[in-house]
């Protein structure tokens, strides 16, 4: 029998909020409980949650969303299958390069960005925007 996560269907998180929890039950998510170091990479057909840091030179690729409970300093690609609704959440969002679906972005040269707060990156009106993370699911969209 195939493992329970091998469904491979694209997910559309975050949802509209509310709704039937059953609708969300088939979303694939993996939990990674370690720091990703340079040269290490994770790719997954679904969401990725990392409890740890993503160091420069490491790579996270997900068809769904990426959540990093730590410093995100490497390369991250959410919605790798083309899902523009995918988002990247990080406790500290300082990626070398950030990709969502077919958008590629990086921090401007010579600018020390580095918010001291959790942030979220997502595509809005065709461009990737980074915003402070607002707690509570209703305010996310």
């Amino acid at each position: 029998m195939a493992p329970y996560w091998a469904g491979g269907n694209l997910v559309h998180f975050p949802g509209k909020g509310g709704g039937d929890p059953e609708d969300l039950a088939d979303e694939n998510t993996i939990l990674v409980q370690r720091t990703l170091r340079s040269g290490q990479s994770i790719s997954y057909d679904g969401n990725i949650v990392i409890v740890g840091d993503v160091n420069p030179g490491a790579e996270v690729v997900a068809s769904g969303n990426v959540v990093v409970m730590g410093y995100l300093r490497g390369v991250v690609h959410a919605g790798a299958g083309g899902d523009e609704n995918a988002a990247v959440y990080a406790y500290r969002l300082q990626p070398t390069q950030l990709r969502i679906a077919n958008h590629i972005t990086r921090a401007p040269d010579g600018e020390e960005t580095g918010s001291k707060d959790p942030e979220v990156a997502r595509v809005k009106d065709g461009i990737v925007v980074i915003e402070a993370f607002q707690f509570g699911p209703e305010r996310q969209r």
């Binding site: 340079s38 040269g39 290490q40 990479s41 420069p56 030179g57 790579e59 390369v75 070398t96 390069q97 590629i104 990086r106 921090a107 040269d109």
Partner: protein
């Protein structure tokens, strides 16, 4: 037809990557079309040293495995119009590329660039064989330390075996005051052992560390000794006859001694 020059050393940490970046920038500043190839797959650094890490989308392995044409993987430098970088892959290892693929790639690129400089990984295994495969010239970097010179000697032997005859030598991180006190090998000591042509000597310089950490190249710093050394090496690569710099005694002490009439 462009030159393909491999920068190698055997030993790690002697300054291959720094040398590659500076020679590339130096050659580009003299209006040559230059492409740097980082052959250190799995431990890439050249992109970081040049401050281009955040621009990488495709890499050397994508190119050699046919995922994308090499032009799509090239990253244009921030400062020089005609300087390009082909970055290494970080999540793969040396076995992801083979010497034949490198040979094909270098031959393809030679029509487009005046100089292609390949940054070789440390060691003598497949990474080294990949890096030298497409090259028609070699620069060996060493530091004035017994272990580095020993490894350089081994590398020169291996290069000769691969028909890269007459490699040129760069001695990096020379500390003249130590040589003076007999605490460090001198240029002559090193040349005596290695018996190859000396392309240049780069003095130990804190500015190299500072600029490297900032993703800049010291060769464009007109006020640094090491930058001057790299500029001279670039001119020698271009075939000019540039005399070796006098680095014996420089800066403040020299001025002071002159002032009080000791010299």
């Amino acid at each position: 037809m462009g030159e393909v020059i491999v920068v190698t050393s055997g030993k790690g940490g002697v300054g291959k990557t720094t040398t590659t970046a500076n020679l590339g920038a130096g050659l580009a500043s003299l209006n040559n079309r230059v492409c740097l190839i980082d052959a250190d797959i799995g431990l890439r650094n050249l992109d970081v040293v040049m401050g281009l890490e955040n621009r990488i989308v495709y890499d050397l392995v994508d190119v050699t495995s046919g995922n994308c044409p090499y032009k799509k993987a090239l990253i244009k430098d921030k400062r020089f119009e005609n300087l390009y970088l082909l970055p290494a892959a970080q999540t793969k290892d040396k076995t992801a590329v083979n010497p034949d693929q490198m040979r094909v790639l270098c031959d393809e690129m030679r029509d487009e660039y005046d100089y292609i400089i390949v940054d070789c990984p440390a060691g003598i295994e497949q990474g080294f064989r990949n890096a030298i495969a497409g090259a028609n010239q070699a620069i060996v970097v060493t530091t004035p330390e017994v272990s580095a010179v020993r490894d350089a000697d081994r590398i020169i032997g291996l290069l000769e075996k691969e028909d890269l005859r007459e490699p040129k030598l760069i001695i990096n991180r020379m500390r003249y005051h130590m040589v003076k006190h007999g605490d460090m090998m001198s240029i002559d000591d090193i040349i005596e052992i290695l018996a190859v042509d000396l392309l240049g000597v780069v003095p130990e310089d804190e500015l190299v560390v500072i600029s490297t950490n900032r993703g800049e190249m010291v060769v464009i710093n007109n006020n640094s000794k090491s930058g001057q050394a790299y500029r001279n090496i670039v001119r020698r690569i271009k075939g000019e006859n540039v005399p070796m710099m006098d680095l014996e005694d420089s800066g403040f002490m020299k001025k002071l001694r002159r002032m009080i009439g000791l010299k």
